[in-house]
């Protein structure tokens, strides 16, 4: 069959016209899915490292009878992706996230207080507090993630070092454990500021923002404690530049470091590889007002205010993260290792009642702290920059903290927290 030039041009033009019309059509991916299950709901998750998590959340979505829930599994800079998507109409209906105080104040997320009616007391209070602003709840906590100090018992025994219970002991232990091939401590490839954040302040007994909305670390104890961290760099006790960062236990498992700060999620793998040759500790306290500190955080299920099916999205969130306790237990414990956000679930989980996991649950209950919503991104960034200069470069802690206190105070005024 021969194709004439006119025919070819005509077909091309028709195809181009069809494409253009299709592109201008109404199929934005936000309409009803046609599955007969009700409206279509887009649910975004960040990419989890644990195998099986994606398949699990897809299974939960398929099981929901009253909407056609589509899961988007998003790798990369997830928080920034959701922040940008919330500015548009093509973002998610439901997403896991903070949310941030500015997202709440900007009306980007939906109040979900009513979803927790009757079960509010069963959610971990520290974690629920980070989702609560002016008495309203803006996300349903999914699981609790916590961080802790892992140490190799054999390495400590070989160097005659006791598990460190104070910050001074931690600094001394890191130095004593450092050899030509093994470093004493791994706090992440940036040397600590990125992951430790407010933990040393809480270890000194200082919150970042007090309950009445004031700066909590305008205190000489803050400078004293942060200053001690510089010794880790000066003594060359820290592992720096490892192939994987703090959240991955590889450096610890490969024997590159004797102690590592990492997440609870790493515990099953560490236990599998090292057996009994490891222990866990909270970040040790410092000074007379100090106490051990265990950072806790939790992504929550958040409903976007720009979603087309807000009521349906809220109903789905309630089904999955409030009523669906079997899904929460499966999500928290079957793939990685997290503590269920519901206290009743955490108590009955067999995996959390023995060994190191039980210790971590106890640390979290006794010493857990969560960064409050009033600790805004701008305050956190200013503090983290100062912390980096203090611990890495040995900058004067008092001089570095002064502008951070001023910045935090101004942020608290901006969001209407401080008087």
């Amino acid at each position: 069959m021969s194709i004439s030039r006119r025919g070819l041009l005509g077909s091309g033009a028709a195809a181009a016209l069809y494409g253009a019309l299709a592109a201008c059509g109404s199929n934005t991916g936000r309409q009803d899915g046609g599955s007969g299950k009700g409206p279509r709901i887009e649910h975004w998750y960040h990419q989890y490292g644990e195998a099986g998590t994606q398949q699990a959340v897809e299974r939960y979505a398929r099981a929901y009878p009253r909407a056609d829930v589509r899961v988007q599994w998003r790798p990369g800079n997830y928080d920034q992706q959701t922040a940008a998507a919330l500015l548009t109409d093509s973002g998610p209906d439901v997403f896991e996230g903070g949310p941030t105080l500015d997202q709440i104040r900007g009306g980007q997320v939906v109040d979900v207080t009513d979803l927790l009616a009757g079960v509010r007391e069963d959610f971990h209070p520290q974690v629920l507090a980070t989702k609560t602003h002016r008495g309203r709840i803006w996300a349903v906590p999914q699981v609790i993630d916590t961080q802790l100090l892992y140490y190799r018992k054999s390495f400590l025994a070989g160097a005659g070092v006791e598990p460190p219970r104070t910050l001074d002991a931690l600094v001394d232990a890191a130095r004593a454990l450092t050899t030509k091939d093994v470093k004493g401590l791994f706090l992440g490839n940036d040397g600590g500021p990125g992951v430790l954040l407010a933990t040393p302040l809480y270890a000194a007994g200082l919150p970042v923002v007090t309950e009445d909305g004031e700066v909590g670390f305008d205190d000489p104890a803050a400078a004293r404690t942060l200053g001690k961290l510089h010794r880790l760099h000066r003594d060359r006790s820290l592992l720096l530049g490892a192939p994987t960062d703090w959240s991955d236990p590889s450096a610890f498992l490969q024997g590159l470091t004797a102690m590592q700060w990492s997440g609870l999620w790493a515990l099953p793998l560490i236990a599998e590889k090292l057996g009994d040759d490891f222990g866990v500790l909270p970040f040790p306290g410092d000074g007379p007002g100090g106490r051990p500190a265990v950072p806790v955080g939790a992504y929550g299920a958040v409903v976007s205010a720009r979603g087309a099916h807000r009521a349906a999205a809220k109903a789905y969130v309630k089904w999955l993260w409030v009523d669906g306790t079997e899904y929460q237990e499966d999500f928290a414990l079957s793939y990685g290792f997290h503590i269920p956000a519901r206290i009743s679930l955490a108590k009955r989980a067999a995996a959390l009642r023995k060994g190191a996991a039980a210790e971590v649950v106890r640390f979290t209950t006794d010493h857990g702290y969560a960064e409050p919503l009033l600790w805004t991104t701008a305050s956190r960034t200013a503090y983290k920059d100062a912390l980096s200069r203090i611990v890495k470069d040995g900058a004067d802690p008092e001089r570095e903290l002064r502008p951070v206190v001023a910045r935090t105070r101004s942020e608290l005024r901006r969001v209407g927290a401080a008087r």
Binding site: D79, Q80, A83, A84, L86, L87, T100, D102, Q103, R105, G106, Q108, D181, G188, N189, D190, G191, P193, G194, V195, L197, L239, L240, G241, A242, P243, D245, S247, L256, T377, A378, T381, A382, K384, D385, S388, R389, K392, D393, P403
Partner: protein
């Protein structure tokens, strides 16, 4: 084409006494579309889509960004009139130590990377230009890294060459000489991370500027070298100093301008080498990375971020104009 239109008969028969409709290209609409008098029409047919794209995706966002810079725009790109703050965002940005520090970081980076890339590219071009055999091969070898993405190159530099443990390539080589391991990207005293940043950019960019210099070198008339030889100029440094280098002036101006603008836009290697899931260390944070975190990161402060972008654009414009004046860009040769 125009001649064909005029020459072809418009009539092919039809009922007697009735003027048949003109056929084919002879029709009036076809004449209007295809005739030489419609050059403007065709100009817009071909350039229009690009103009629309440029307007929609570049100029409108640019204008919008300037407009946003006068508002308290957090988590929104459509602030209310009540959020108008005038020049407050500009004042806050200029008072923000993190932003001014990022400008200093950029200044240091530019002060080093521009002359280093210039010298390396010129040296490579001179060497390749003198080759009698396999010139195309070496030109390709040095040019190939240009095709590599910054992200991929940064990952290779970070994960295999300059990682901080004993099995990293750089540390393995140091180990052969009994030296201690170096945490290249985490050490601020001395600031080894600069070595990683600079070598990465040199590897990625030098080939492109080498090609520009090669083009410049091939435009130097051979008669000049012959005349210089007759006048007693020695080949090598003397010829380069008095003949080659001055003849490359126009290329040099273009290369330096491009290098400075590229340095201002530095983002990829800083971001990929030094950031992690928790953010970015304060050292070695160039302005674009800082603005990225302010406007598009968790902070979502689009008003302040836009103000910073406008300040940065003005700085680039001023630097470019000053530099162009300095080099005498646009001045007539001779």
């Amino acid at each position: 084409m125009a001649a064909v239109v005029r020459e072809r008969p418009a009539r092919r028969g039809g009922p007697v006494g009735q003027e048949p409709p003109p056929a084919g290209p002879g029709r009036p609409w076809a004449r209007r579309l295809l005739g030489p008098q419609r050059r403007h029409l065709w100009f817009w047919v071909f350039t229009g889509p690009f103009v629309i794209g440029l307007t929609v995706f570049t100029y409108v966002p640019l204008g919008w960004s300037v407009w946003l810079s006068f508002f308290e725009a957090r988590n929104t790109v459509t602030p209310a009139a009540a959020d108008f703050v005038g020049l407050d965002n500009y004042a806050a940005m200029l008072r923000d130590e993190a932003f001014t520090d990022s400008l200093v970081t950029f200044g240091l980076f530019t002060a080093f990377i521009v002359p280093a890339t210039y010298a390396l590219a010129l040296a490579l071009a001179l060497m390749v230009n003198r080759l009698r055999f396999a010139q195309a091969f070496f030109r390709s070898v040095f040019f190939l890294p240009v095709a590599c993405s910054y992200v991929v190159a940064a990952l290779i530099w970070k994960m295999s060459i300059f990682n901080g443990v004993r099995f990293g390539l750089a540390n393995t080589v140091l180990g052969w000489f009994g030296a201690e391991q170096v945490a290249w990207l985490s050490t601020t005293d001395p600031p080894w991370y600069w070595l990683v940043l600079v070598t990465l950019r040199l590897w990625l960019q030098a080939g492109f500027y080498m090609v520009l210099f090669l083009a410049g070198l091939q435009r130097v008339p051979p008669q000049l070298y012959e005349a210089a030889a007759v006048d007693g100029a020695r080949p090598g440094w003397q010829t380069f100093r008095y003949i080659t280098f001055p003849q490359l002036r126009a290329t040099s101006v273009a290369v330096v301008l491009l290098l400075v603008v590229n340095a201002f836009q530095a983002f990829d290697e800083f971001y990929n080498l030094l950031s992690d899931a928790r953010g970015y260390p304060p050292y070695a944070r160039p302005p674009l990375v800082h603005l990225y975190y302010t406007a598009l990161g968790e902070e979502q402060n689009l008003g302040a971020g836009s103000a910073g972008a406008v300040i940065l654009a003005l700085l680039i414009a001023v630097a470019t104009v000053v530099q162009a004046r300095w080099f005498g860009l646009g001045r007539k040769e001779g």
